[in-house]
Amino acid sequence: METPEQIQARLAARFPAAAVTLVPNPAPAGMAALLVDAAHARQIAFFLREDPELKLDYCSNATGIDWPEKEIVETTRSTLADPAGGPPRTIEQKTKRIQPGYLEVVYHLYSMARKHGPVILRVRTGNRTDQVTLPSLTPVWRSCEFQEREIYDLFGITFEGHPDLRRLLMWDEFTGHPMRKDYVEPDDYEWEPTPHEEVLEKAKRHYAAPEKEGTP
């Protein structure tokens, strides 16, 4: 099978307007992912499915990942040559920058016809608000139908073009997106016989909370 780099090159040639970048994977399993922009994701997906070389007709896994806002401390080193001719001095400069949070959907693509894979496709949203949208790949691979519903439910990404986008696992009245990293669990703690620190913390919050109906 072609390497991700080759695929990236072909995609760049085929869709000049699309931004396709490689996301390296440092793990020993090492399989770089193709990061495509949301606007062209469906076209690229159709291409990957239909391309006779690749024939990625099977989307095994589709999942969301939450990357919250992160403070990145970058250390830049600049070497200054000593005008006096001494050994060069190294100046370390620490810059803090806030990497904006985003949500990401990862698709693992295989080919049943050619029995190869995987090709990993990533699509990212611009931010982490509740109104983030991505194109649905369900028209390309039916197997995304429930998995994208699950992502919509647990991560709060709206998929445009999904035939039936509803919550999959939680009930319809539910408002949160539990798989996001900043999700706060409901205060359903009342009693637990092994009082670990975090349990006590929860208990404190529970009993301090204004009288909720039904709690003793």
Binding site: E192, P193, T194, P195, H196
Partner: protein, 196 residues
């Protein structure tokens, strides 16, 4: 011919019906309360604490290091180390609670324990109507003798004994050249090889 499949099926059920009266392969019921359940040696249900000697609480191998508490996936172990009058740790648990209403019998506490102090019990008849007292096992409930451990997991217990004896020999050999006044700073022995 139509119906042969049905007749064959009837023959099989008839064979099983008749067989259930004379063929032990076709009568597999173990009548539970009367006929004892044969539990394999490896069977595990809930953890217990091993004690050496006669005194259940004083002889506990547990040193209240809280490793199992930290590693327990569902967080069902709760330990408070004991301290003597001067506030020094006595390396014994003051409280060792196990919430069997949460425990999932995964045996990770046994695997991570460096002192072979916590082992898996085989007793499963613990159904109770007492929600708040019956399902929380305290130190006193959990402490069981080494002999009991030997009786339920003989092979594993023998291996554990060897490892403990080895560790003790090493510790003694190490302690001799050192100052005898040094407290029994026994380095925890390596975690035992996965038990058989």
């Amino acid at each position: 011919m139509l119906g042969t499949g049905l007749l064959k099926g009837l023959a099989v059920t008839a064979k099983n019906f008749v067989g259930s009266f004379h063929d032990p392969k076709r009568y597999t019921t173990v009548e539970y309360p009367e006929q004892p359940t044969k539990l394999p040696e490896n069977y595990r249900n809930f953890p217990f604490l091993v004690f050496d000697g006669e005194q259940p609480i004083d002889g506990l191998r547990c040193v209240a290091c809280k490793i199992c508490e930290a590693e327990c996936p569902p967080q069902c172990i709760y330990i408070i180390p004991d301290r003597d009058e001067k506030g020094r740790p006595t390396k014994k648990p003051k409280v060792f609670d196990l919430d069997v209403s949460v425990c999932m019998s995964c045996q990770i506490c046994v695997e991570v324990c460096p002192f072979d102090a916590i082992k898996m019990d085989q007793h499963f008849e613990i159904a109770t109507a007492d929600r708040f007292n019956g399902l929380l096992l305290h130190r006193e409930d959990l402490a069981k003798s080494d002999a009991y451990y030997h009786s339920i997991h003989p092979t594993e217990a023998a291996q554990v004994d060897e490892i403990l004896a080895e560790a003790k020999r090493k510790a003694e050999a190490k302690a001799k050249p050192a100052a005898p006044a040094a407290p029994a700073a026994v380095k925890p022995p390596e975690p035992p090889a996965p038990a058989v």
